[in-house]
Amino acid sequence: MNASPWHRTLLRQMARTGLIPDDVTDERFAALLQRVSLSYDDADKQRYLHDRAFSLASQEMQDLYDRLQEASQSEATVQRDRLKAVFDTAATGLIVLEDNGQIFDLNPVAEMILGLDHDTQVAEPIGSVLVTADPEDPSTVDLQHAIATGENWRCSDVLLMTRTGTLSASLLFRPMASGGGVLAIEDITERKKAQAELIWRANHDSLTGLQNRASLVDQINRGLQRARRYGTSVAVLFIDLDRFKRVNDTLGHAAGDVLLVECARRIGSAIREVDTIARIGGDEFVVLCENLTTDSAARERDTREIATRIIKAVDEPFMLDGTPAYVEASIGITFSQGSPVGPDTLLRDADIALYEAKQSGGSALAFYDDSMIDRMQYALELERQLRRALPTDELWMAYQPILALDGDNVIGYEALARWNSPQGPIGPEEFIATAETAGLLNDLGRRLIRRSLHFLNDLPGDLRLFINMSPSQIAADGIIEWFDEALEDTGADPRRLVIEITETAALADFRIGQRLAEFQSRGIAIALDDFGSGHSSLSSLRTLPLNLIKLDRSFLNSTVDDPRAESLARMLCDLGHALGISIIAEGIEDDDQRRFAQDMGCQYGQGILLGPPTTADQALEHAARHV
């Protein structure tokens, strides 16, 4: 503002025109100049304010802009850091590509998958680091095309060559609007292995590595096709291991598994190269024999040879943690016939033949024929009848006396199971075998033993009762406890009880010996039944805790005109005497046989001549007469 009442611009203009304020004496002129001066002042004030305001506003806008930019830069930094973190920690390999296909950036997973070094690869063309194992594979060319045209592209499986080897990869390219794009790369090598493993598992038995049922069915179908094409025949061998369950029960499942693996190996080494082996159940194996002649006699001979090799291989003891274990192979065999058959039919027929083979004891083989179906149906009917009869009186015990041969004194009675079925009497061998196959033997045996113990209580004096038990009954879980309970319930005296046990290969199982010793510790005597038949093993005499031996009836039948058999019988009796074991001769039917038995040194005898099996009442009457 001016000290002078008039604006300095006005004063300057007045001076230039030669006018000084003192010259202005006219009032109206002075008023005019005053107004002009005020207008100048107003304009100055306005300009000052305008300039200041717009300078401040500009500064404010600049500050605002700076703050916004700072915020947006900081936001951009945060965003970039986030993206970088995602990029660096992504489980998938990521390669950011320029629009010319050069690598702009790649994350650690991509470096790892491709065996690359980050710094040396940036700016390299993607084609130089992504090399297909197959030079003919068009994948990398397709990728280059997708980058150039900005299109989505995917390749779900490509074999790549890297510095460290080859790998299976899945590739996915996504273009970016701003050019170039991102290539996602995933190493699917392990996934493919896992898939292959899954497929293998679907077709193989995990324990033995053999083919499983599904795979076997395919194999049989292919075998049948080949047989038709080449005019050959195939055989299906259904193999079941006898007494495998006992190995599992006694030595544990781990040992059982070891046995199965070894068994698979043995069977595999017993068959020919063209044959296939599969495991289709716990202890069930199937061998498919191909390229057999269609001549029935020749193919049966060839197949029998193979089956026999298998049986022998399985018969050898299995050493499980230093303990020998014994199983036997039963084999059912069937052939592809002239008429078209499928895998199911062949497996069913072989299974039927297997049943037949098992009926004839362990280590046996049987060829399928149509009559087996009838027999099997009969066996199934028998089983059904037996289940029904179990709680009834149709099953009963007969008792046959055992006498001292030096007089006529009865020393006891052997309890023998009998079945009067509605269709007529059924022999013990038949129904006991059926019970064993059907898993009913334990139940049946325990029911009959309980009845016999009541009979024992009725027997006068110190007469003994001989009862029969199979190795499987003795090996059954809880048999000792059950026996103790049965003895207590019935009040029977264990010292008057004799358990007869048939000599079979199963007796080699050391646990049987332990069980027998436990029975013996309760005062129960142990007798080895049918000694000298079948699986005669002198080692049984040493290892088993025996009190009595029952000499098999075959000796009395054959020794009369067979000097060698007689010598053998005498030797066995001498052996028994030497070991302090009493001997009972079985099957004495006439006086010659009785004399012969006495002559050999048998202290006791049993047979039709000495007394047939009778009902319990008759036996008690008999006992009363002979005590």
């Binding site: 107004r35 207008s39 107003d42 004030k45 306005q46 000052y48 305001a53 506003a57």
Partner: protein, 379 residues
């Protein structure tokens, strides 16, 4: 309808003999606007005594008469209607809210009209304490729907210390006075235009209460104004008129202009002539002489009343401060549109009231024109 213009000054007295002026009792209104620094009470008494009219007016920041600004300390326009009637009302605020006071006046006018058609209402109110927005709302509440209301808030030059309202020979500080013209033959025209432009950043009203503004963007509003005014901060509050504030809600298509009435150093607050709601956006405004003149022209053009038998120009004190000695340029611009012979009276105010876009409301920093004309019915 006949309008006579007159002036009064202490030295020269009345410019004409009031007793010769045409006037009919009940049909005449005398608008009187005075310089608050000059005692005009005796002149106003004379006016009341010599003219049978409803005398109404207020103190100003500059009196307008014809093309002149401040031709005399008191300017008067005496309008006698041929057929229309004039009714007036006046009430002191008396501690009531502006809206309640407006309602009282509105009710009185409606009552006095006895059901006759109200062609238009003009209102004048104390300019320092009365919230103009609320006053208009109260008035409209009791007037027949569609009644146009215009007028302005009394002023005290650039001082913002005391304002006066005149009514029928009385003068009061904190009053509201209004008159209504009754009759179908009379028509009112209105125009209101600013000529201000926003500048600088958009700000947010972060603390306010009614028409009291405390903070913009979390900073004291007064400090911001002082920063912008620089040396001229000493001239507060009038200097704040150089930077009126435009305020708008989030969804509004255009903003309202607010003029500062007073400042409070203690609370760092500023009181405006209208509400400044918290949460609304705000921006400083600026203008130039040319833009203000353009605004005045546009305001006159919006009146659509040709020829005007009375024109009342109410312009904002802020415009006067910007234009300084050249304030008459906007008055001339108005007469250029209405016709140089149009009888025009007016004043520089602390707030203008007029309908705009169909709504009567308080304006700030505008030139507001009300034109009144009466058609003489055919005999």
């Amino acid at each position: 309808m006949h309008t006579s213009l007159a002036t009064w000054s202490p030295h020269e007295g009345w410019s004409k003999d009031l007793r010769t002026v045409p006037a009919r009792p009940g049909s005449t209104v005398a608008l009187a606007f005075s310089d608050p620094t000059v005692d005009t009470s005796e002149a106003l008494q004379q006016l009341r005594a010599q003219v049978p009219a409803t005398v109404i007016g207020c103190s100003t920041a500059g009196q307008i008469l014809g093309p002149r600004v401040d031709p005399a300390p008191l300017v008067v326009a005496i309008t006698a209607f041929d057929t229309a009637r004039v009714v007036g009302a006046c009430t002191p605020a008396g501690g009531r809210t502006a809206e309640d006071v407006g309602a009282v006046v509105g009710r009185e006018l409606t009552s006095a009209a006895h059901g006759e058609h109200i062609a238009g209402v003009m209102v004048f109110a104390g300019g320092l304490t009365i919230n103009g927005s609320a006053l208009v709302n109260g008035l409209l509440r009791h007037l027949p729907p569609g009644t146009p209301v215009s007028g302005g808030l009394a002023a005290d030059g650039p001082r913002f210390e005391r304002t006066w309202v005149h009514f029928d020979g009385h003068t009061g500080e904190d009053c509201v006075a209004a008159f209504a013209v009754l009759g179908q033959a009379v028509s009112f025209g209105h125009g209101s235009q600013g000529g201000w432009d926003g500048f600088g950043p958009r700000r947010t009203i972060t603390a306010s209460e009614g028409n009291v503004l405390y903070e913009l963007d979390g900073q004291p509003a007064l400090a911001l104004y002082k920063q912008y005014l620089g040396d001229r901060a000493d001239e507060l509050p009038s200097a704040a008129l150089l930077f009126p504030l435009t305020v708008w809600s989030e969804n509004a298509s255009s903003g309202l202009v607010r003029t500062v009435l007073s400042v409070d150093e203690q609370t760092q607050s500023m009181t405006f002539a209208g509400d400044v709601p918290q949460g609304w956006s705000a921006r400083l405004m600026w203008t130039s002489l040319e833009r203000l003149t353009e605004g005045a022209t546009e305001a006159a053009q919006a009146c659509h009343d040709d020829p005007a038998q009375l024109a009342v120009a109410v312009s904002c004190v802020g415009r006067r401060l910007v234009m300084g000695a050249r304030a008459e340029e906007e008055v001339e611009a108005v007469l250029d549109v209405l016709g140089r012979s149009a009888p025009m009276i007016g004043f520089y105010s602390y707030g203008e009231i007029a309908p705009k876009d169909g709504l009567c409301s308080l304006h700030n920093q505008t030139m507001t024109i009300t034109t009144i004309s009466e058609q003489i019915p055919a005999p």
